[in-house]
């Protein structure tokens, strides 16, 4: 299986596959002509990488526990739990922050619409005084 086929099978670009290799996430055998060759199992591995990237892990973090999950022994590899928990905490912090921002935005919107229930159009601030009268 060459890199193009792996890319198609996983939906990951060739560029990204080479990047994952460079980051130590995957390895490839080489044909005589220098082309990369992959074992069909690599599809699952790349999909696993995709999944953890989607969870917001960096390639470096994924590299630190990928062997664990690929062995189907995630549940035996306790080192992975604190990593999950840490990421979870980060995610929850981000949600918290975004929720605060959301509340601020709702305040702003409310402030505008409450004070001016019948809002007029205004394309430019130059005309504000006229239009708002």
């Amino acid at each position: 299986m060459q890199i193009g086929e792996l890319a198609k099978s996983t939906g990951v670009s060739i560029r990204s596959l080479r990047y994952y290799e460079q980051q130590g996430l995957i390895a490839a055998d080489r044909q005589e002509n220098g082309y990369r060759t992959y074992n069909p199992l690599m599809i699952e591995k790349v999909n696993t990488i995709k999944f953890y990237l989607s969870l917001g892990f960096t390639t470096e973090q994924i590299a630190s526990f990928l062997h664990c999950v690929m062995m189907n022994k995630e549940s035996f590899c306790s080192q992975i739990v604190p990593i999950y928990r840490q990421k979870l905490a980060e995610i929850e912090d981000q949600i918290q922050l975004l929720s605060q921002i959301r509340a601020n935005l709702l305040d702003r919107i409310e402030a505008v619409t409450d004070e001016n229930p019948n809002l007029l159009e205004c394309e430019s601030h130059v005309h504000n005084d006229i239009k708002s009268r």
Copy 2:
């Protein structure tokens, strides 16, 4: 008021103040020696910029409505409402996405701890087979 004082008064770095100027958010008069000079009102303006940056607006977006909010006529400037709403929608999308990630992470953690309630330590995958027995 020189740039250093403005920086101290607002907690915004000199570098950032120059950047805001370059992005058209603020303007400065110049002394004969080329030093920037600011009106004391600039403090409020910079703080307003800080606030909107914290809401996740870009300098470009802020530039498009800053005159509005600085005139204390935010409520008369209807063009600002769709901008707020759009940002709100983005924020809510991000919250949605992060919540999904959060759920996935909780699943992972649950999967590990459920299948292996009495988790052993494992410093390295090399020793997994031994330690997990």
